[in-house]
Symmetry: C2
């Protein structure tokens, strides 16, 4: 396995254009009340809690835009703001946990939820998570920290609708993916994971009940052509089945410029463009014109778990 990834590049390499279909998928559409060939889509904003800008832009994109799901990073400084939004919208929010094992920005940092002396392999010399995903983490410590993140969410009053993995760190190795699935099983939560990284043995042990058919997330190359073009093409060419569109919505303000310094990819301008598209009339009209049905992890959880 690759030992060190630059921040963010992993998710992109892993996810872009990957198309897989599990035999069981037809049951998801029917269990959600749609025909088997319906185009089902989750428009999912990552990184809640990471900054005030990310939080308030995402709340707006949910309240008045087309974003219908998001996930929260429990170790981040602004997590309480995201939790308070969820509590104020107990039935309608669709917030999962964006499980965190990295602290990737230059001047702005966070560390584990668990006591740092219990998870030495997860932290750098200053007690923060490592900058990049790592494949050499102690698996017992990973499990301890992931449990701590889930338990912290429940303790704060957030009942997550699903689990996913920040920067794809939990898809680094089969063993990390196994820990990830184990956590999903323990808390009876849908886990977003790629079919092709699951061995037969792992599938038989953890039997994930839902598999996403198509996953889309914008790459630096697509971004350079233009996010509106990428997102328009994605929606126009959406395949039948369950699709997941991962985005990052924030306002391009001073806070985000400081956070994203020296890292334009997945940075402030990028996140503002995501916000712009997914709060636009163009997006809403496209979803309707293409007969795309927005579904949430909450609906999936309630139907299958």
């Amino acid at each position: 396995m690759i030992q060190y990834f630059k921040p963010f590049t992993f998710l992109c390499l892993l996810f872009l254009g990957i198309n897989f279909r599990a035999a069981s998928q037809e049951t998801i559409a029917s269990k959600l009340g749609y025909p088997a060939d319906a185009k089902l889509l989750i428009i999912h904003a990552d990184d809640l809690g990471v900054s005030h800008s990310e939080n308030i832009a995402t709340f707006e994109a949910i309240d008045n835009g087309s974003v219908n799901s998001a996930s929260v990073m429990m170790p981040t400084p602004w997590v309480l703001e995201a939790v308070n939004y969820a509590k104020a919208n107990p039935e309608t929010h669709d917030f999962g946990l964006h499980l965190v094992l990295s602290s990737e920005w230059k001047n702005y940092k966070w560390g584990p939820v668990s006591s740092t002396d219990k998870v030495p392999s997860l932290i750098d010399e200053h007690g923060y998570f490592h900058e990049a995903c790592r494949s050499d983490l102690n698996l017992k410590e990973v499990e301890l920290e992931l449990k701590a993140q889930v338990e912290r969410a429940y303790a704060m009053g957030l009942e997550p609708t699903h689990l996913d993995t920040h920067m794809g760190c939990l898809a680094q190795t089969t063993r990390l993916t196994e820990v990830y699935l184990k956590i999903g099983q323990k808390y009876n939560l849908p886990v977003f994971v790629l079919d092709e990284f699951l061995s037969k043995e792992i599938k038989e042990t953890y039997h994930p009940k839902v598999l996403v058919d198509q996953l889309y997330t914008i790459s630096p190359e697509d971004y350079s052509i233009g996010p509106e073009t990428y997102y328009t093409n994605t929606l126009k060419n959406l395949m039948p089945g369950l699709s997941l569109l991962l985005i990052h919505t924030a306002y391009d303000n001073e806070e985000m410029k400081g956070m994203n310094v020296d890292h334009p990819e997945w940075g402030n301008a990028w996140r503002q463009k995501d916000y712009d598209f997914f709060t636009s009339k163009t997006c809403k009209e496209l979803l309707e014109k293409e007969n795309i049905k927005l579904v949430t992890w909450r609906q999936i959880k309630e139907a299958l778990y």
Copy 2:
């Protein structure tokens, strides 16, 4: 002792208008090369590290305004940005440590530098510092955490010029003050502490080498009249001896509005006003007209430690 203080009110109650003079003070002026009756002033910005806004506004107020000293909160998310500024200005910065035992904002939080399971009395149910200063903290845990904050600073490459106490938490009880002075003695650093809270015994044990004659910091009442009036009067009526003026400089932007939500006192508008005055021509002219000599903790440290 009062058990629980509302955030920020303590500092104000404690410091405002307090005027004391130690017999040894004349030596400070002479050791710094000034006559005994010189008006010496440290214009000190608290809370570096607390937010990107606070950092960049304070850097600007130091680079081009009249602020000449500041202190850094090691447990905060943006501390690396402050440390990197200090490293880029190794000779000229005057950054001490604003020792932290509280996490006072509603939706934006931080916790101890030390492992949380080593300092249970310092944290709330979610592992953050308590919202307010507390007088019932375990003193061994306080000492452990303060050492961890100082050690973290050195490990990051910041050599602090002094120590002070965020929200005055370390002036809550004589015993807390004793721990605070012990840390100063251990690392041979000037400690900002109020003379009137020091017993004869504590003085003989820790013999602080420097005592501030006058301490000024704006109160909510002064703020309501107008910060410019308060600061102008303060500078016009500055007494001879060593004075410390504690301020908080930040830009009143979205990040600060989010951080200071439900807490206008010491909040975003307030910090912008502090920034405005201490980057103004008015302030610079007043300092010159009143023959006020700006001195730093670094100068004091080099002269007396």
